[in-house]
């Protein structure tokens, strides 16, 4: 031993440094939610798996985890859908085409899209939870013949909170998938269903013994969804969900995202339900 200091590998690239991207297009989705298309300033495609996220930086303001919501089959443009809830998301929202944003990623685990081949796939989304599921929907629809029924159950608070409205309409018009929507509270001319998303799950449309479910939304909504899926015969080993915790680094260094023994940034955000079942029902983990 030359010295007692360990030979810690010096990384090829510094994982703390953001890569610069150019804002190409910004689309307002809802009053507080927008979708942004960005491309790397240094060129090249951006490959990712559905369910993964990036850390997005606004100059001098901060950095936040945001899921990738675009098509993994179109890696030339990176797509994020963000809801403005605080200072960093507001600063990102203020960026215009031609401006620069910092990106670190992609990070985290992914929806096991390939492993679900041969099975029915049930998507259960709540609110902005549809954004992290959309890449999986794109990938499956691009490889449609390898899957059984594809069912989307989407719940939002009001009709005004429905994300990707045009796309939902297109999906509803397709014969090779089923898209069902429900709102907590009907407003305006809403003629659709009213209630919670679990109501849609109970309606079925999938082979309970072989369906795989991908669930994303607020934690309470996921709790009920998992329970209802279980009652409908979709057991915990076929249910995947995306957890949300505070994140400051996405590298396993800052400790903020810990969920029991795991780091949501590295072991998650997508977990197989039976792997976290024990903690999922404990208070304030």
């Amino acid at each position: 031993m030359d010295s007692a200091a360990p030979s810690i590998r010096l990384p090829a690239g510094d994982p703390m440094l953001p890569r610069l991207f150019r804002i190409e297009r910004v689309k307002k989705e809802l009053s507080d939610t927008f979708t942004m298309e960005i491309t790397p300033a240094d060129g090249g495609p951006f490959h990712f798996r559905p369910g993964q996220f990036n850390m997005l930086s606004a100059f001098g303001v901060g950095e936040v985890p945001i899921s990738i919501s675009g098509d993994p089959g179109a890696p030339d443009v990176l797509v994020h859908t963000t809801r403005v809830v605080g200072s960093v998301t507001a600063a990102i929202c203020a960026l215009k085409p031609g401006d620069t944003i910092g990106v670190r990623g992609p990070f985290g685990s992914h929806w096991p899209v390939e492993d679900a081949r041969g099975a029915d796939v049930v998507f259960v989304a709540g609110g902005i939870g549809l954004a992290p599921l959309r890449p999986a929907i794109y990938q499956i629809m691009a490889d449609r013949e390898h899957y059984g029924n594809v069912v989307i159950f989407y719940g939002s608070r009001t009709p005004e909170d429905l994300l990707y409205r045009h796309e939902l309409q297109r999906w509803r018009g397709r014969f090779d998938m089923s898209t069902e929507i429900i709102v907590d509270r009907a407003t305006g001319h809403w003629g659709g269903r009213v209630g919670v998303v679990t109501k849609l799950i109970r309606g079925g449309g999938f082979d309970r013994h072989h369906a795989v479910a991908f669930v994303c939304g607020p934690e309470v909504m996921m709790r009920f969804a998992v329970e209802t899926l279980g009652e409908c015969g979709v057991t915990g080993d076929r249910v995947y969900l995306s957890m949300e915790r505070n994140m400051k680094c996405a590298l396993g260094f800052c400790g903020h995202c810990q969920y029991g023994p795991s780091f949501v940034c590295r072991d998650g955000p997508v977990y197989r339900y039976d792997a976290i079942e024990r903690l999922f029902n404990v208070w304030e983990v």
């Binding site: 031993m1 030359d2 010295s3 007692a4 200091a5 360990p6 030979s7 810690i8 590998r9 010096l10 990384p11 510094d14 994982p15 703390m16 440094l17 953001p18 610069l20 150019r22 300033a41 930086s57 100059f59 001098g60 303001v61 901060g62 950095e63 809830v85 605080g86 031609g98 401006d99 620069t100 910092g102 607020p218 949300e244 915790r245 505070n246 400051k248 680094c249 590298l251 396993g252 260094f253 800052c254 400790g255 903020h256 810990q258 029991g260 023994p261 795991s262 780091f263 590295r266 903690l279 404990v282 208070w283 304030e284 983990v285």
Partner: protein, 385 residues
């Protein structure tokens, strides 16, 4: 050509002048020498220029919520390392309370990002066995198999370590039951044992690396006598004996990891929360607590942005904040997170305990909450059912 390491490097001895020469020699080699010194009635770590800066003649009295320096009453012959632990550990040098990660300059509508690359070269003098273990714990945290923290890697890679074995345990120490001390077994460049019972004030020196051997050749030293070596062994045995619970010392319960993982739901969480102030002192003094937050700043012109990383604590409400509210609102869930992470989850994350038994969290807790007692209470409640 790589020379094979000799299996058992000969054990050497130095006197106080030799130690002084060691400090000078390290400084001459370009190291910033950090060691224990007395400031504000406590032993703290800071730059040391020679033996005169060390806490000669001081021992510490530690207990739950209690710390006091006491003169050892030996005047000029007083021990240099008669205290156990400095109030804060080496973490503040390897993983500083605040570090700048990068700086960015606005250039038109784009920016240019510059990494931080200056790293000091430290020589640590007086690293205790438990602290050496804590450094190895941090090594795993910041090189986790997927990502490496370049700042930590640079600071750590350049560090020269002079360990000092313990001849005395404080009432808060429990390294023996964590298998992390009181003798430094590996991971040092040089390891000293102070022979404070000998009038000639000598140190037995073990060499742990080539760098250590090279430094030693530059300072006055001689072979340790059989009597020196026996005295060094006695000193360490004394510290071990003082930690035995049967003799009034402190021990961590067996299988603390299992105990914590089995008791996520337990009435004790509310009981400890009734006492815990949520101040986060325990996390600040713990040599392995690594959690941080980020702060982005801009200069007045708004054209230069910086990202800073600073220590954070799982005891704050903000720590677990997500839109809609914090996940861990109750002090009970925050204390549970801390102790369960230390003693149980850490094994799954890093293959080692997150607690090295230094006892600092006990000493510096204003209300004297004791990690060993909390684990024992849970363990004993299992026995009762």
């Amino acid at each position: 050509m790589v020379e094979p390491d000799r299996k058992d490097p000969p054990i050497m001895a130095i006197d106080r002048d030799g130690l002084d020469a060691l400090i000078q020699c390290l400084a001459h080699d370009g190291y910033q020498v950090i060691g224990p010194r007395v400031e504000n009635s406590a032993v703290v770590l800071g730059p040391v220029a020679g033996v005169a800066d060390l806490p000669k003649g001081w021992t510490d009295e530690q207990a739950g919520g209690h710390y006091r320096l006491v003169a050892d009453g030996r005047g000029e012959d007083g021990a240099l390392f008669g205290f156990t632990l400095a109030a804060q550990g080496w973490k503040r040098y390897l993983h500083p309370p605040r570090t700048r990660l990068w700086q960015a300059h606005r250039e038109g509508r784009s920016w240019r990002v510059e990494a931080e690359d200056a790293a000091p070269r430290y020589a640590f003098l007086g690293v205790r066995a438990c602290e050496l273990s804590a450094i190895h714990v941090l090594d795993r945290v910041f090189d986790n198999g997927q990502f490496t923290d370049p700042g930590y890697a640079k600071r750590r890679g350049g560090t020269f370590i002079v360990a000092v074995n313990c001849g005395r345990a404080a009432a808060t120490c429990f390294c023996a039951s964590m298998a992390t001390g009181p003798k430094a077994e590996a991971g040092f460049d040089l390891a000293l044992t102070e022979l404070s019972d000998s009038a000639s004030a000598r140190f037995v020196v073990e060499v742990g690396s080539r760098a250590g051997a090279a430094v030693l050749t530059g300072i006055p030293h001689g072979p340790a006598t059989a009597a020196d070596i026996a005295a060094a062994e006695r000193a360490v045995a004394n510290a071990t004996a003082q930690m035995q619970r049967a003799a009034g010392g402190r021990e961590m319960v067996d299988d603390a990891a299992g105990v914590l993982s089995r008791n996520v739901e337990h009435p004790q969480w509310d009981k400890v929360a009734a006492r815990c102030l949520g101040c986060g002192n325990c996390t600040a003094v713990c040599p392995t607590c690594f959690c941080t937050s980020m702060e982005d700043t801009t200069d007045l012109s708004g054209d230069v942005a910086e990202r800073w990383r600073r220590w954070d604590s799982c005891f704050t409400l903000d720590f677990s904040y997500i839109h809609g509210g914090s996940v861990r609102r109750a002090t009970a869930s925050r204390y549970r997170q801390w102790i369960t992470h230390k003693l149980s989850y850490w094994h799954e994350q890093f293959g080692t305990s997150g607690c090295v038994g230094c006892g600092r969290c006990i000493t510096w807790c204003p209300v004297g909450i004791d990690i060993t007692e909390e684990a024992r209470t849970l363990a004993e409640s299992e026995g009762r059912t």
